[in-house]
Symmetry: D2
Subunit: 461 residues, 4 copies
């Protein structure tokens, strides 16, 4: 049957270009949305007199059949189908004939695809956020279990301070909560409906754009038809939101990879979440965390790719914009497979608290020593300097700080008294209280409470 | 005087590493913010008893002097100053002695720099948005002047529909308004105060973090101290926001570059905004628009750079994070020089409406022909097919559509009557009404009104 | 049958992680290479006594069958197949039993996949270069046709100098020739064989790595087994090479998009290479060039993605490296569909030399005027200044340069004599001679000759 | 004195655009190259009769003075200087008057800047490679010291095989050698001279381009003048080469960061290469390695930035290309500060071989067990399966593999005999021989020899 625009052309499109041009290999994902948008469009055409009520009935029913074929997998793509929009129109014409020839009246693929794609984004980002909230829940649960577990907090990957393991895990939870909110904002920011923008100047039939927007669940019509068909900001914002989330996942993953190494030994992965080697019989690999870390790359690549594509485009729709879809689909689908994997992984890790306790380095006591001295009235910077000398002394003599004699301490500063020896011998624990948002039991509990309430609030949405 | 941490070390830092490590060559920009944050910190220390009221007075006054030196340019950086924070503390110690040694009590560069940088971002993004709103105003003004100018709207860079030039310019205005809101959101999303987070586990002195946050104009303290010192999401979000804006500017620029070519001839650049060639005496180049287009690259590069840096970092502060500043400063400063340049450029362009009118291609009439036929009751797709044949006929015969005879039209479809000839001869104009958001006078006026009101509302902020 | 490493584990892999982990959905492309490498590996095992000659015969024949299944499409992937390597081993075991259990002796998926992938790269980049040389040939052919066509050479998209259209097209040909050589270099740079590197420390059976390398067409064995299994430089270099080529294609495409606009009108696209609109019956769009321009994005995205993935990986193979394949496959397949599309497009463009000639702007004469004055002995910068005034005068008076009277010229400089009027009236042509590599007939012919000879030399490879 | 092109314009350039447009703030780095190129250009003009021999003498001497001012730092930039080229010409005119007005005859900033920049690249990449070869030397030296040190080779950051530490370090050396060769290739690929290409169509004076190329040390003139002034492939290739090197440095750095953690404890950093904390007195941070890892980001960002800038540019020089310089300068200068830092760092690390030996995990014995079984004739996959069960048994019982009793072994397979117990008790060592390129003394020694010879060969260049 040829392409719809074929009559204006002397010959068929070169096969090599047809293949290049065709998007149905990936935009088939928009099929159900295309049907839904077309049904609403048909109603709008009837409301403004372009379609009779009989024609409308035929169109809506015909589209319903096409939609069923699409969701059931019986829809047959034809060699001349350029994209999902033309395929749906073609199939509809086969099914119901003449009324189908009126469907595209006043609209363009330009406003149609932008509308379809916004629906796709709305649905799929909601799914991502649903999965993400479960991941956050898992982190909160783990954190609650370990709110009192002393853990070597690192900076520069050097042991810096003893903190609550729960507090550390909550840092990840807060970060992912930020991604949840950010993704939701990114979608909400684009809650206007392109439909009725035509090719670029606005529909040439007097459809009610406010009504269209409402039917499709948007806050209102897009305010400028040229902008509506040209802008891919909503795709770019989503790609960025998923990249940002991906960067956080890569960092979370890095920690678990380190912690599950033999050298750290902080966590053990359950056998159900680790994989083996084809050659080395003893290996048990944290592949899931490595993939979480590695797939940050493709997410960032998808963002960069679209940025390059968008750069410098002249006004109005350009075919280059077809390149928005594959990165979007890939980033969404990457995320919807990563998050359940992470969920499974978090369910399968266990912390070896004994090992963790053993590996707390004596030099971590420096914080106590400085506090001891400032409590005695020394200015912070002086206390810090004295403590630095103590650490150096410990290293030079090969002794841990706990084994320095009182004499040694007093040589460093006369402020040291006998109680310093006891102080250093005290076991590590998470303090009961301290500053808001800090690593102390009260603050950690408050965070668990706040996050749990928030999770409940988004779960009921 | 050496670095503050030198006493813990056996020897001075290798010179090659000192150079690499040093950030004062760029983070001096944070000086005034560092002073302000330090003054608030000193007050918090006094409130919780670490400082006496005399010490506080000395510290605040000393910091004031340092701040004055910084803003007046008399501040002397010393070879051992690693960064602006240590430089300020060093200078303060020179000025006031002992109380200065208490200033760093309970805080870390980790929470300090995050706080300083958030203040920098807040102030500088506000400046960007101030400039951006003026650019939007210029576009709205131009658009209002040209709301009734018929213009060849392109898709695929082919003339597609006659639209209002004002409508086209407003598309850019809406797009930039989106960037304004997006940037504001990006800052607002991070309105929590890191100060009091210490190195990562929370300040070890009982400062009131809520009070600190309030003094510095934040909505509240950051909820988790580890997250607070580790996260650079606020920088990443700003880099993305500026990249997104940069992509839009590159597209706007592309249009003006095309329009000012001899081949288009749609706009003339005033001599004050164009540049010449060193070799070709006649050249008059749209450099400003080319730079707008080209600098999209560095903005995207800065975003990518930070993404790469953040990828896979283990938990807690890592020195890699020092690499957040230069891209941030560069993107901000790029934008604050680009926007005034664009403002100047928009003030210096004039549209050659005569040339534009001449270049409207006869094939644009296809839209009228299809409407003519659908008004006669033909299904859209049939009307479109007939019109396609007419266009092909016009091309094959080398005649513009307006010169096809009535006989020719009627050979294509019996629906054509004599009035088709008149229809095609009508001059182009912007229609008085049409769909909301479309290219019609009513919709364009409504957009101008809405945008003007919005501009007024943000100007009074 | 479960995964090969299952016996070391207490339970089966969580389904969510299995899905995430699985690469057979894309690495099936390596099947034939995997079979070939395995056959060579089997021979090496036999040579060092691990396999008997009967076992070798069975293995080679069995692998041949698996290879046939793969190329014929009858190979059945099983749910437990993690990747193509394990799938091939699994199928082989089904077909021939015990000897198959010896195949993986001494090798690892780490060295196997690196070897497979290098073969894939070698074959597929050769195919890209084959297509690219044809594109270059088309450009050279077009250039030869238009070596004497005067064309407005642009800088800053402003008409700058009249040059040979052929010369302009050859600039693109040289650029693409650079990409051809660069891609070939990128492959050649990695002509060492990873096989025999084992998991990372080298094969634990005494295979002859030099022999292996030779059998597989490499220059020699990779010099360090750790580097051999860890490095993805060969993938990164290819992604960069294709991105670089993609950037050039985007620039070439931009020109053709501009040239085919109504405003330029320099080229007409044959109907077989242009596409229509679903709404606007007259449209004829240069989609193929827009896709060439737009797909530069995904190529750059693939490069960025892998860079992000590689950043900061610890030594030895990490699962993150699995993320090398999809971008590689995508960039290769993007290019092998783009290049034939471009080839078709170049065969279908025709230059409208009449339109081009009409659009040469009178201000282009400035070059002749400056040369006239410097020939009279004026310093270049003075001649240039006088000419600048003439151009300004022409603009101010609304006259083209050709219409300025002799008096006007002489008011600008006494160096002007009557012959200046004739000079300006001379028609444009491509000069017969000039500097090497310049826009003159001799230089253009020399370029055509050099490129043609080069194309012949690479065609016979 | 105003800009040289000012006479063609009615008014001065808007100050906001002048600021944006100006490149002298960074392209001053090209000053000495600009002077050198200009001297050669002047000679070429004299050779073709444009300059008299007196004029040439004046120009060469004048340029020499300008060059001296530039290198001595006495050169005064003026407010109207747009870029270094115009600044040099302006200063030259001040110094010698009229002959200076002839210097720009026949050339353009377009060919001039491309030539200057190629010289800059040639010199600065040679410096990078000089530093890089010293880094490689340090690695080889370390590797030689540790060729017999058993080390836990990781895959998936899990201990996989015991390998020679020297072999592992050599993997990095080979990788960096690849970068050295790659960077040299990247420069060599662009060894053609743009000078004489004019604005885009070739110089309009009959200069001898082959002579020009030779004087400036190029292999020959660029073959096409349009390509010569438009292409930034040589910059892009260098940015890629430095990004690739940066990625390798980030990976090398990651290892040292891990190794210097308390949990690994494999290396100790000398005090001269580590830094302290402002708050935590005991901290000793591997900042230099973190910066090596983090700065991979800006290198990748610079590459991405230029790619975005180049994408879709129309033919001929565009002002966007000015954006090539800052990323190039930044990447070069980043690298020339990173490499000496790394050199210092490698000189300051020491491996704690005792700690390393302690941390070799018993499960690493799996490789010996499998070899034991295959030596007894079991097919590899069967041996591997039995060994997997042994590892599982060891984990389930909480015993290291070395403590499993003979009975236990024999329950797993009757192939085990008494000697298995001895086998497992043998201390780890680097084997004397094995496959080429593997982790055995012979192969490691061969690598050290090959790399040392190569280093010698490049040092004498």
């Amino acid at each position: 049957m040829g392409k719809v625009w074929q009559q204006r052309f002397a010959g068929p499109l070169d096969e090599r270009i047809h293949e290049l041009n065709r998007s149905i290999g990936f935009d088939y994902r928009l099929g159900p949305d295309d049907v839904r948008v077309s049904q609403v469009w048909a109603r709008a055409l009837e409301r403004c007199g372009v379609l009779s009520s009989d024609e409308l009935t035929a169109l809506v029913a015909g589209l319903e059949s096409v939609g069923t074929e699409l969701t059931e997998g019986s829809f047959q793509v034809q060699p001349d189908d350029e994209d999902i929009h033309m395929a749906v129109e073609r199939r509809l014409t086969e099914l119901i004939g003449d009324p189908a020839r009126k469907l595209h009246h006043g609209r363009s693929r330009n406003d149609l695809v932008a509308t379809d794609l916004k629906l796709y984004v709305r649905e799929n980002t909601a799914a991502v956020n649903g999965q993400l909230s479960q991941v956050i829940q898992s982190l909160v649960t783990l954190a609650e279990q370990h709110q009192d577990t002393p853990f070597p907090g690192h900076t520069h990957l050097q042991q810096a301070q003893v903190i609550s393991l729960g507090h550390l895990l909550l840092a990840r939870a807060w970060s992912l909560r930020g991604d949840y909110l950010h993704l939701r904002e990114a979608v909400g920011r684009h809650n206007s409906c392109p439909l009725g923008s035509g090719a670029l100047g606005g529909a040439t039939v007097p459809v009610d754009r406010a009504w269209l927007a409402k039917q499709l669940g948007f806050a209102g019509p897009a305010p400028n038809s040229v902008e509506a068909v040209t802008s891919r900001d909503f795709v770019l914002d989503i790609l960025y939101a998923l990249t940002r989330l991906g960067a956080h996942l890569s960092q979370l993953a890095e920690d678990f990879i380190l912690w599950s190494s033999q050298e750290f030994g902080f966590v053990t992965l359950d056998d159900t979440i680790a994989t083996g080697s084809s050659l080395l019989a003893h290996k048990k690999n944290p592949d899931v965390f490595e993939l979480l870390r590695g797939k940050c790359g493709r997410l960032a690549g998808n963002l960069t790719g679209l940025l390059v594509t968008l750069k410098g485009l002249p006004g109005g729709y350009n075919k280059d914009l077809q390149e928005d879809k594959e990165p979007l689909f890939d980033s969404i689908e990457t995320m919807t497979s990563l998050l359940p994997g992470l969920q499974a992984a978090l369910e399968g890790v266990s912390f070896n608290t004994g090992v963790i306790a053993e590996k707390l380095h004596p030099a971590l006591l420096s914080e106590r020593i400085v506090a001891y001295l400032t409590d005695k009235g020394l200015p912070f910077r002086e206390a810090y300097g004295i403590c630095g000398q103590a650490v150096k002394l410990a290293e030079d003599t090969g002794l841990p700080l706990t084994n320095l004699s009182l004499t040694r301490w007093q040589e460093l500063s006369s402020a040291f008294e006998e109680d310093v020896i006891d102080l250093l011998a005290q076991p590590w624990s998470v303090p009961a209280s301290g500053v808001a948002g800090g690593s102390n039991r009260a603050a950690v509990k408050a965070q668990v409470k706040e996050l749990s309430e928030w999770l409940e609030s988004v779960a009921t949405v």
